[in-house]
Amino acid sequence: MRIPRIAMLTASTLAVAAIAACHKTPPAPAPTPTAAPAGPNADSARRAQEEAARRAAEAEAARRRADSIAAAEAAAGNAATEMARMRETLTQMVHFDFDQSELRPEDRGVLDAKVPILQANPSVTISIAGHTDERGSDEYNLALGQRRAAAAKAYLVQHGIAESRIETRSYGEERPIAQGSDESAWSQNRRAEFSITSGGQTLRRP
């Protein structure tokens, strides 16, 4: 019989998961089933029985303890992932057209996604750094970078984030993230970068 590949994969994944589970939870020593002995060995048989029961109970407790640790670990892992995802959302860049500081429609969504996280975490403050590509005047670009940072900030403030929580600065064309002198590099470099300046150790889900 041919097993469809996907099913096989699933089966083996389950097997691996099972093995992994076995690794995580130390196997409890199997309680030895013993027939009730009679005669002069009755006392020792009873002691053995009690001992077996005690071992079984201990094993059960250990298993439960291990299970709850695993569950806590999994929950913590999820929280960490969730936190990382929120941080990623908060620090996702927006981009601009040449010599422009207007937000592009697609970048409004990038900023919209930051709003609920900032609202759910009122102690978080951020810094926005405006950047330009290498074209244009070095001096004019330093001013343009500030205008880009201010545009991103204004959008967040309009959407309810306190002005005092957002600081802006400019690096002009001085900190390119993409090298090269073509549109691909330029478009990556025309950006506003976001960094969390305080309160970002733990983030509450919106």
């Binding site: 244009g136 005047s137 001096e139 001013a143 205008r147 201010a150 400019s170 001085e174």
Partner: protein, 438 residues
């Protein structure tokens, strides 16, 4: 190579400068030249005699190079193998004028070392006589930075004696490389790094050459003034939240700094007392656009700056108090124009700036303050950020014509260019005023 001046009239005695300059300068005697002399286009043929004594060869080489870089001289490469032939035979041993006449030298510089410096003599070959004599002090430490400045100053004096116009050899150029400020002599020697924090930008000289204004950007933006004698900087505009400061310049009286404040609503020009303790005074009202890179007329009455108020960067001119704003560069208007980084010439007549040509690379242009006579000065590679020398004739600018951004110097009269720096990433140059000897 031009050996003598244009024109065929034999030995018509002319003073080699405009009458107005001559009238202002009583020490100016000039040199006999054959033909008519146009101080902007003609070059005077000059010879510098070998100099005996300590550092004599260096002094001669520096002066010859300075005179060459002035673009007002053709320097005779004298055959110095037979010094005796340069003098008349006999005990008096005066200069062999007929020999220099045959060599078509109009002027001869004769320098001897003295205990304190140099004894400089200028000979007029046409009149077969000495026309200028001066003793010049040299610092004791040969080849030091101050010593070289003193030698450059000698070159500038010789230039003034001959042409009526002081040279610009005794000047320096401040610029940015690798987020630090450097200062280099006008001939490309003796570069130093000025001690500042990182992320510095747009150095500008005070009118007396003793102070540099500059800004920092990024995490801690301020406008700072550095005393070049001590190397100490102080913030004249302190850091403020959500603000980037840039492009500070001194007013010609040295008392005020005009600079850019980029904040929550575009950028505008402000002024503040260089002494500090003053409230900033707003000069432009850009209403959300960028207004930056101010340059001030030598009489201090007007300011030219870059503004994006009509969508694309153009040059604007206004009164020093911010009134009477007009666009300066509205000629050849197109959607793809981008004009910026103006610098007002020290003679007050011309603005040098950069313009994006054909939507592509920047080139250096000049335009009269009236907005007339725009000219292209460069075409090779990308050329940006012009800054005038005190002679209003030479410009230092950033060019990538060699493959990397370097500083170059252009003589706008002869269009001759020379490379000033040889370290990649050099930019944002500011040419100093004439520098006094320490």
């Amino acid at each position: 190579m031009m050996r003598s001046l244009r024109g065929l009239l034999p030995f018509v005695a002319l003073l080699a400068a405009s009458p107005s300059l001559h009238a202002q300068d009583s020490t100016f005697k000039g040199i006999t030249l054959n033909g008519t002399y146009d101080p902007l286009r003609d070059k005077v043929s000059i010879a510098v005699l070998p100099i005996a004594g300590a550092f004599g060869d260096s002094i001669r080489a520096i002066i010859q190079r300075d005179l060459d870089f002035s673009d007002r001289f053709v320097v005779d490469s004298l055959d110095a193998s037979d010094p005796a032939a340069l003098r008349n035979p006999g005990a008096a041993g005066g200069l062999n004028y007929p020999l220099f006449a045959r060599l078509q030298a109009a002027a001869v510089v004769e320098i001897t070392r003295t205990p304190t410096g140099l004894h400089v003599v200028l000979h007029d070959v046409g009149r077969s006589q000495v026309v200028n004599v001066e003793d010049m002090r040299l610092p004791a430490t040969g080849l030091s930075r101050d010593w070289r400045l003193a030698v450059h100053n000698t070159s500038d004096e010789i230039e003034r004696w001959v042409t009526g116009t002081r040279g610009v050899a005794a000047t320096r150029i401040a610029y940015i490389r690798g987020q630090t400020i450097r200062i280099i002599d006008s001939d490309g020697a003796d570069e130093i790094t000025v001690p500042t924090e990182p992320d510095v930008f747009s150095p500008a000289w005070s009118p007396d050459g003793a102070t540099l204004a500059y800004n920092t950007f990024g995490a801690s933006p301020r406008v700072l003034l550095m005393d070049l004698a001590t190397g100490r900087s102080r913030a004249v505009v302190p850091q403020a939240r959500n603000v980037t400061y840039s492009t500070p310049v001194f007013t010609p009286d040295g008392k005020t700094i005009v600079y850019t404040r980029a904040g929550e609503n575009g950028s505008d020009l402000f002024s503040i007392s260089a002494a500090g303790g003053d409230t900033p005074h707003r000069l432009t009202s850009g209403q959300g656009t960028d207004n930056t890179s101010p340059t001030i007329s030598p009489d201090g009455r007007r300011i030219v700056f870059t503004s994006g108020r009509l969508g694309r960067p153009e040059l604007y001119i206004m009164d020093a108090d911010g009134t009477n704003v007009n666009v300066l560069t509205d000629f050849e208007s197109s959607e793809r124009n981008y004009r910026s980084d103006p610098d007002w010439s020290p003679d007050g007549r011309t603005i040098a700036y950069q313009e994006r040509v054909n939507g592509d690379r920047f080139q250096i242009r000049t335009v009269r303050v009236t907005g007339s006579s725009p000219k292209y000065l460069t075409s090779e590679g990308q050329n940006e950020q012009p800054s005038w020398a005190p002679d209003a004739r030479h410009l230092v600018f950033t060019s990538d014509r060699s493959g990397q951004r370097q500083l170059w110097i252009l003589d706008v009269e002869s269009n001759r260019v020379r490379q000033l720096t040889h370290s990649p990433g050099s930019r944002l140059a500011a040419w100093s005023p004439h520098l006094a000897l320490p």
